[in-house]
């Protein structure tokens, strides 16, 4: 069932007519390495087979900002407030150029992360929670938010066994197994990158847990097998889409 109450979280976009957004915005959230992207790929195929128009949107991949954010990340000189704002600019760009037009065209928009990632990362660095929520007050409220929940004990082996862990070390310029940012190395919560990763991710997981009630996350157990997690996500998505279809039917009758 769709949880949506308002069009926007905060003051919205005063200059945008968003009354005709007939599509569905479905968000999959969860920490780094929990397996969101793999799940989303599979969900997209599944929905398309069912006949839905599907578009996906990621985090920090806008044509306008992608390059700027990569440059800023490699520089390591930005304070976290500036990063918060860079992410907000990127999000605004994707929202207005990708998400809203797709929703207007009746697409199912699958979002790999949404504003909650920004909230968690900001809070982990001591940022004001109210401030960052208002900054993202132009965000469209999703129809459903699936939170892929995992404990730190289950997360660690998954990240270390992942393809990216080795690829990052051998093939990427950084030469790191664990990612600098995903380990919160800018705030260094431990003596080395591993210790920092563990401590940082614990804080992030706690922030996500905190937001579960606030934003009505639907919790999906991500510690289970890919298939089991996938089945749970599909069930949740079907409930959102079928809810809409039955509404449509009752309108026609």
């Amino acid at each position: 069932m769709s949880r949506k109450k308002n069009l926007f979280y905060g003051v919205g976009l005063p200059y945008v007519d968003a009354t005709d957004l007939t599509g569905k915005l479905i968000v999959v959230e969860g920490t780094d390495g929990v397996g969101r992207s793999t799940q989303l790929e599979e969900l997209k195929k599944w929905l398309e087979v069912k006949g839905y128009g599907v578009t996906t949107t990621g985090w920090t991949r806008s044509p306008l900002m992608g390059k700027t954010i990569d440059e800023a990340k490699s520089g390591h000189t930005l304070n976290f407030n500036t990063f918060n704002l860079l992410y907000a600019a990127d999000f605004a760009d994707r929202l207005e150029h990708e998400v809203i037009p797709a929703l207007r065209a009746g697409f199912v928009v699958l979002a790999d992360r949404y504003i909650y990632t920004a909230f968690a990362r900001s809070a982990a660095r001591g940022g004001d929670r109210q401030w960052i929520r208002k900054v993202f007050g132009f965000a469209v409220e999703p129809d459903a938010i699936f939170y892929m929940r995992i404990t730190i004990e289950d997360l660690i082996p998954r990240v270390i066994n992942s393809k990216t862990f080795e690829r990052r070390y051998w093939e990427e310029q950084s030469g790191e197994g664990l990612d600098y940012w995903e380990s919160g190395m800018d705030i260094r919560l431990g003596d080395d990158v591993y210790d920092s990763f563990v401590e940082y991710q614990k804080v992030i997981l706690k922030e996500f847990d905190r937001m579960t009630n606030e934003f009505e996350f639907q919790v999906v157990d991500a510690a289970k097998s890919f298939e089991e997690t996938n089945r749970a996500l599909k069930q949740g998505i079907l409930a959102v889409l079928e809810d809409e279809e039955s509404e449509e039917k009752s309108r026609r009758h």
């Binding site: 976009l13 005063p14 306008l64 304070n79 860079l86 208002k134």
Partner: protein, 237 residues
């Protein structure tokens, strides 16, 4: 953090900012003030709105491809400001210097609201900013500002006239409409944030004398750090 902008800053330095529409004479006045401060052996650091390398490229790219919506435009400028605040404004304030800023967050409040964002939203966006010790707003009628800008050059620049907003095909008319709206916003901001309103139609000398009085008063309880009290000027504005 959201409240930071409403509270006096904890740093030993002094932050002086000037605001006003293009052609209000604010930059001239700030320059004269700096000359006086430097001649009085104070350590001064000067900074301008929208000048850091990080976001400049993005803004340029966005303008070229016409990708910038009012919200991205607004957040990008806030990002730029956040970076300059951390790297250029807070260090001299911590060092106990006098920072002179040509335009500040109020510029964004006025301009971005005219471009369509929500007034409350943009005020919150800049919640991390340091509150100025002295904020001067140079109020001037549109016609005076237009005359001053066109004096010495033939045409108005595209963005200066707000031509991208499609208010009018005639640059002068567009400028008049755009800057009038900005002026309206500035008046609201000046009341809301208690900016010192300067009558910018007065003579340059008269305005400068008034500004120096205001600054002199604030300098009474300003104690520069001992290492800043050298004879020679280290920082040249």
């Amino acid at each position: 953090m959201a409240r930071l902008f409403d509270q006096p800053h904890p740093y030993p330095g002094i932050l002086i900012i000037v605001e006003g529409i293009d052609g209000s004479g604010k930059s001239t006045q700030l320059e004269l003030l700096q000359k006086w401060l430097l001649s009085s052996k104070y350590r001064v650091f000067f900074t301008e709105w929208n000048s850091s390398a990080l976001v400049n490229e993005t803004i340029k790219r966005g303008k070229k491809k016409n990708l910038l919506t009012p919200t991205t435009f607004s957040v990008l400028h806030a990002t730029d400001f956040s970076d300059r605040l951390a790297h250029l404004i807070i260090p001299p304030l911590k060092a106990g210097m006098i920072v002179c800023a040509d335009r500040y967050a109020y510029t964004a409040f006025a301009r971005d609201v005219v471009r369509g964002v929500h007034p409350e939203w943009v005020r919150n966006l800049y919640g991390f900013a340091v509150k100025p010790d002295i904020a001067l707003y140079f109020r001037v009628p549109i016609e005076t500002s237009l005359k001053r800008i066109l004096n010495g050059r033939v045409e108005l620049k595209f963005h200066e006239a707000g031509m991208d907003l499609g208010l009018s095909d005639d640059p002068r008319e567009s400028f008049r409409i755009f800057q009038s709206k900005i002026l309206e916003e500035y008046d609201k901001i000046a009341a809301e944030y208690g900016l010192t309103v300067m009558d910018a139609t007065m003579s340059i000398q008269k305005q400068q004398a008034m500004i120096r009085d205001i600054v002199r008063e604030r300098l009474k309880d300003y104690k520069p750090a001992p290492f800043l009290q050298k004879k020679e000027n280290v920082y040249v504005a």
